[in-house]
């Protein structure tokens, strides 16, 4: 899968580099002065976006490891914090924004984790952290790094020994084996993005099947981990109602509703710059031809009544089987909340607070 390993000159003696190299013994290695060299190689390729998924660049993060999730004021944001472990992904989803985020996108892993843990130390030792939820799955998939790194074996026990913040590992893989036997103290939530088998087949190249994801989730539940699920991106297509309803049923047949910390619903939205990329790279994909309008944040979104209908139905199917589960929308406005769920987060202390409280109930964090 990885065809070449690039190592930033500045980190070539870092012990984490040796670990990755050992796990990829047959992969040719080049030491490069900086990222520019890697970009140059990728840009010359026929499909740089696909090529960036097959080279691994080991480097250091020069900016902060902890970052605010890039929400906008126009929609209600969940107040998540990102732990920036690396960028990009080995899987290939048609709708993936990472295709358009970086120029060109490249699988990049930050080995200078001393600083990452230092930032975490500062946060948890402060006693009253300004937030209680951190995730690694914003600029990458949280678990694709498992075959080559010891990331989760370091992160999970770290979060286990404090009670202020939960870590969410969000994935479309089944790479959970390294989580077995780790001391987690329920401070790590393992989360899956879910979609119908039809969408997974047509739009999510290289990801685990829906059943495999649910089996992995059940396995994590058996190991005592709390779980979360993200129905995102929900896509309107012929047969979506039947497929999504079945998906909801399969979810609750696989894991216990009581062990789910939260479920998010997000309808497909995309930056306009992603449209030509999808057209070119996923010629059979139909997802960009829905009734999209420009949203208040500049992203294309389904016209509002279509979103409301989609959410109402999803919420009803979920509520039928899990009436108490914490359900929320990713980046929607008050009108959508009101119309689809019958309340607005403000009435319950705000979305951030609602999620923190759910984390407190399920994971024992002190908020």
């Amino acid at each position: 899968m990885i065809s070449r390993l690039y190592i930033d000159e500045a980190v070539k003696h870092h012990p984490a580099v040796g670990t990755v190299q050992q796990s990829l013994p047959a992969v040719p290695v080049s030491v490069v002065p900086d990222a520019a060299k890697v970009y140059e190689v990728l840009t010359a390729m026929q499909d740089p976006i696909a090529a960036g998924k097959r080279v691994l660049f080991l480097t250091r993060n020069k900016g902060p490891f902890l970052r605010k999730c890039p929400g906008t004021k126009s929609y209600i944001c969940c107040g998540y914090q990102i732990l920036h472990i690396g960028t990009y992904c080995t899987m290939d989803c048609a709708y993936c924004i990472l295709q358009a985020y970086f120029h060109p996108p490249v699988l990049q892993y930050f080995v200078n984790q001393e600083r990452l843990f230092k930032e975490l130390d500062d946060l948890v030792r402060s006693g009253r952290p300004p937030f209680h939820r951190i995730g690694t799955g914003e600029f990458t998939d949280s678990l694709i790094w498992e075959p080559w790194t010891e990331l989760s074996s370091a992160l999970v026990p770290y979060f286990a020994q404090q009670d202020r913040v939960v870590l969410e590992l969000k994935t479309k893989t089944t790479a959970v084996e390294n989580l077995r036997g780790l001391e987690h103290n329920r401070k790590t939530i393992v989360a899956w993005s879910l979609n119908s088998p039809a969408i997974i087949r047509s739009e999510e190249r290289g990801t685990a099947s829906m059943r495999a994801r649910l089996r992995a989730a059940a396995q994590c539940e058996a190991w005592g981990y709390p779980l979360a699920f993200h129905f995102d991106p929900l896509i309107l297509y012929e047969g979506w109602e039947k497929d999504y309803r079945r998906l909801v049923r399969e979810l609750f047949a696989s894991v216990s509703a009581q062990n789910i910390v939260w479920i998010s619903l997000g309808s497909f939205r995309f930056m306009p710059s992603l449209k030509p990329i999808i057209r070119k790279r996923f010629q059979k994909s139909r997802i960009i031809y829905g009734e999209f309008i420009p949203g208040l944040d500049g992203k294309m979104r389904y016209f509002k009544p279509l979103r409301i209908e989609l959410y109402r139905k999803m919420a009803a199917w979920i509520r039928e089987l899990a009436p108490d589960v914490m359900l929320y929308f990713c980046m929607e406005d008050q009108e959508v909340w009101e119309q689809a769920l019958g309340f607005v987060p403000e009435d319950r202390g705000g979305l951030s607070r609602m999620l923190d409280e759910s984390a407190a109930r399920h994971c024992g964090v002190v908020v």
């Binding site: 139909r286 009734e291 309008i293 949203g295 016209f303 509002k304 279509l306 406005d333 009108e335 119309q339």
Partner: protein, 327 residues
Amino acid sequence: MFDQPVMKYADKVISISEIDTKDDTCRLSLRTDPDALVDSIRAVGLINPPVLRQRQDLKYQIVCGFRRVMACKALGWHEIKARVLKGSSTELDCLKLSILDNRSHRQLNVVEQAQGIQKLSPLLPCRNCLQMLSSVLGFPKNQKVFKKIGSLSRLPGAIQAGVMDEIVSFEAVVDLSEFSSEDALSFFELFKVLKLSQNKQREVITLVWEIAIREDLKPAEILQSKGIRTILDRAELNRNEKGSKVRAHLKQRRFPTLTEAEKRFSKELKALKLNEHVHMTASPYFEGGPHTLRMTFKGMKDFDERRKTLDAMAKNPALKRLLEPFE
């Protein structure tokens, strides 16, 4: 490959019947209409003889001067002075000569450039070679523009000629190059009738393309559908009106829920009974941004009048329906 070899010629008088005027191997312009040249040749004779190459079947192929040969033919000449290439010259050499000859007295238009790119491509071992030749031949150096011009050559000649006649814009033609000839010609027929601006042509292309994907139809089927034909057949409408109606029709088909909401908004707006001094506009796409209310007035008396209109508006139940359209 990039240097044009020095070509040798023999000046000869050739019978026009020996020239294969249908052999367009080296022709760049889609036009061979000799009208403008006929008068000048009649007045001063053929000053600049065409360049010909003798084929293996002994017929002559025109390398440079298609319109000159056609003009002499139109004048009823039987013979023509020509410069015949000596020795063996390759098709690539002849094409380059033809392009350079055209360039020596004018800028090549996009269609001629497209023809040049199309004809040279199969003769060159790699795509880069063609781009390296660009500077010599006067093609654009910018890769994007080069690609766009090259894409024109995939289209039927009628559409390429339509660019020169300004029936269809260059950018729209680039979009059309992704369609089959049948589909592209259907668009072209529509543009002939409607004379839309570049942006509107591109909007129509995108709408039809996306409807075709959504409804699993061919673009030509949409363009020839009853809905479009009915609009085009309405004798009482002028071109602009037809253009607007076709676009509205396509928009409705592409965005049915949005169009429905817009219609409902217009209906409720009417129910508000505003006058020409008070205008309300919905938030863009009803996404939740601010609505706009515009009011014009001259003096205090006017202002009081408007206030009454606004008071009445506030009491009208249609206002709530306008502001909460998805209840």
